[in-house]
């Protein structure tokens, strides 16, 4: 992780000094992950691509102000998540939209760019059913594998809040995916002292 942080700082310096290769290297290092975040947040591939574009344009326009007190990736992913929130607000998508007709389950061997390597439709649908803030926490922590502190930095909330959102997000996911678990009954189960 530290190597990546240092590498990004070096690339940013080179980019600001006029090295166009540095732009390519920064893109190469982060574009897939940013795309993954956006696709899981937005579900629609075209919307995700637009969000990725918007994210990187914003970041490269402001990178001269990046002070390096946090990791570049933390800032980048925060912009990505905020961009996705904005896209969601703009389009006012419902969370239960079905997939377009004719779209088969993702086939990793498919050459069709629209089907190449997507989240399983059932998991994506379950993710879409989550409240935005739960979805963001689950996407970043569980799907992207980021540390809880990093997720907290990205979302601008304390670690405790991240834990809560991830926990509740997983619970809702399980219910949506059909986990046959009895719902919590406050009359039956224990309470705090």
């Amino acid at each position: 992780m530290t190597d990546r942080v240092d590498a990004d700082l070096a690339l940013i310096e080179r980019y600001l000094a006029g090295d166009v290769d540095a732009f390519n290297e920064l893109m190469r290092a982060h574009e897939d992950r940013v795309f993954g975040i956006c696709l899981r947040m937005l579900r629609d591939r075209d919307m995700a691509l637009d969000a990725v574009q918007e994210t990187f344009i914003t970041v490269f326009r402001k990178v001269d102000r990046f002070a390096g007190r946090s990791a570049f990736s933390t800032w980048l992913y925060r912009v990505a998540v905020n961009t996705c929130y904005d896209v969601t607000r703009r389009t006012r998508r419902t969370q239960a939209d079905p997939l377009p007709e004719g779209r088969d389950p993702a086939d990793p061997s498919s050459q069709d760019e629209f089907l190449a390597v997507e989240v399983r439709p059932d998991i994506q649908k379950a993710l879409d059913a989550l409240p935005q803030e739960f979805k963001a926490a689950v996407v970043l922590a569980d799907l992207e594998g980021l540390a809880l502190q990093t997720v907290g930095d990205i979302l601008g909330v304390p670690v405790g809040t991240v834990k809560s959102r991830v926990f509740r997000g997983r619970r809702l996911l399980a219910e949506t995916l059909g986990n046959p678990t009895a719902p919590f009954d406050p009359q039956r189960d224990e309470h705090h002292a």
Partner: protein, 281 residues
Amino acid sequence: MHSHDPDIVAALAEGNLSPTEERAAIARIDDCARCSTDLTSQRFALEAIRSAETPALTPEESTQLRASIAEAIGLPAPTPEAERRKRRIPWPAISIAAASLAAIVAVVPVMGLLNTSADDSGGDAVAAIESVTSMVPLEVGDEFSARDGLDAAAPPGTEELSVAEVAPPQTESGGGDDTVSSAAPATTVNASGAAAKMLTIDDLQLLITDRVLIGTLDLSYDEECTGIAAEQLDGEVFQPAGEIDVAGVGGKVFVIVTDDGVIERAVVLSISDCSVLFTTP
């Protein structure tokens, strides 16, 4: 009898505990039925998540993306990703076979250009990067806030409200009853004493769902206050959503939200003793 501990349940579900830690965790939740239920659902969800494939850009998407971004920020179009990989290492083989000579074969690798985009125009292109005209809604308290000298103007409604102070709700019955819900919005008074704004459930909603930091303290899991909040709100609560000042007293905000993230009910408890400072109907 053990109480519900979501941290332990989550740690067990994630499977990252050492054998000793795992035994201790299992013992801790052994007679907690709610813990068992939660553990099952956490593991189910994690298993589904871990089976999900990782999205990735196609080379064509990557190329188009970089070209669009480069154009927007004033850079020359980068080399297409597929072409870059193809041109990286061309290996023309040169073989000399001479029947008259003892079969001597030499292969001379020729390294082609790795990237043709690094030309002298790069510096001019970067210098032509346009100034920022659009703002990303940045979180209060991050490194790009005004204290760093950056002109990151916060969008309306995203100001940090930790200085807002809420007057205690008017009691409707005898003294000492601090659990009366306030049906009307409470008047807020800022540190200078001047009336600032009315704090309503909509304000709490804005604070929480628009990702504004209410407070800066670490909101670690608070068993006592959480239990009281659950009783007040007659529902399951997990963590404080944030903190605010209530007439100079630090308060933790607990909310019950719908699946869409809309606040249904809220209560503010004193940080020091978990007494009720403010409730909404």
